[in-house]
Amino acid sequence: MSEQVVASKLTAQAAAQGNALIKLLVFSLALAIVPISSYFLSRDYVWGGNTTWAAFTAAGSAQLILVAFIVVSVLEDQRERSEVEATKAKKSH
């Protein structure tokens, strides 16, 4: 019986790690690609060649990625905490 508990814990850990790894990969790629591409695209198509506004756009997009990362990490923490409390409530019954 305890072997099944250990196996379920391991698969849950592996699933959580895989999920976290994918999130980290997505954010790393976003931080590498989005600011510099937003600089060039906004310079050519939005600001009509004005490089200063394009640089502000690139810096702003990097800040937006940071805000998205903070939101995602806080939400994941809240979800994990509610799951732990739900399993605790089930066990106590």
């Binding site: 976290a20 999130k23 980290l24 954010f27 931080l31 600011p35 510099i36 600089y39 490089t51 200063t52 394009a54 640089a55 502000f56 690139a58 810096a59 990097a62 800040q63 990625i65 940071l66 990362f69 903070i70 990490s73 806080v74 994941e76 923490d77 994990e80």
Partner: protein
């Protein structure tokens, strides 16, 4: 003494290099110092790792500031018809962004390391950590703004004969 000597691009290229190199040094210091704290935190509370990666992301953004200023200055460089004034402006812009990125990365590294270690014991440290990291991040942002303002003055350069 002409306004557009042939060695003028030296200063402009120095600004490009300074912006990228110095802000990357700051970002590397911030990443590594915060990473030491996260490795310590991960041994005791692995579920807190995702939230404690915020200093690392902020250090990455410091490097993005340096990259943006480098690309911006490099786009304005020319082999001829490039005045010494424009070279000095670009050098100043690159140095401004680079050194402020160095300072910001230094701050983010120490704050990230200490605060993620404290986060193991007290969860209310998280909001404080994000606030202090934001104040450290805006140091690099001020350097970026000053570099952009300086770079916009480079187009006032005198025309070459």
């Amino acid at each position: 003494m002409s306004a557009c000597p042939p060695y003028a691009p030296f200063f402009g290229l120095g600004g490009v290099a300074a912006s990228m190199v110095l802000s990357t040094v700051g970002a590397a210091f911030g990443t590594s110092k915060a990473g030491i704290g996260i490795a310590g935190l991960g041994q005791f509370k692995p579920e807190l790792i995702m939230k404690s990666l915020i200093p690392v992301v902020m250090s990455g953004i410091i490097a993005v500031y340096g990259l943006v200023v480098s690309v911006l200055i490099a786009g304005a460089l020319r082999p001829t018809d490039y005045s010494l004034y424009a070279g000095f402006v670009h050098l100043g812009a690159g140095l401004a962004c680079g050194f402020t990125g160095l300072a910001a990365g230094y701050a983010i590294g120490y704050v990230g390391d200490s605060c993620v270690r404290a986060y193991v014991y007290e969860s209310k440290v998280f909001v404080t950590m994000v606030l202090i990291l934001i104040f450290g991040e805006v140091l690099g942002l001020y350097g970026l703004i000053v570099a952009l303002i300086m770079n916009s003055r480079a187009t006032e350069a005198p025309s070459c004969m």
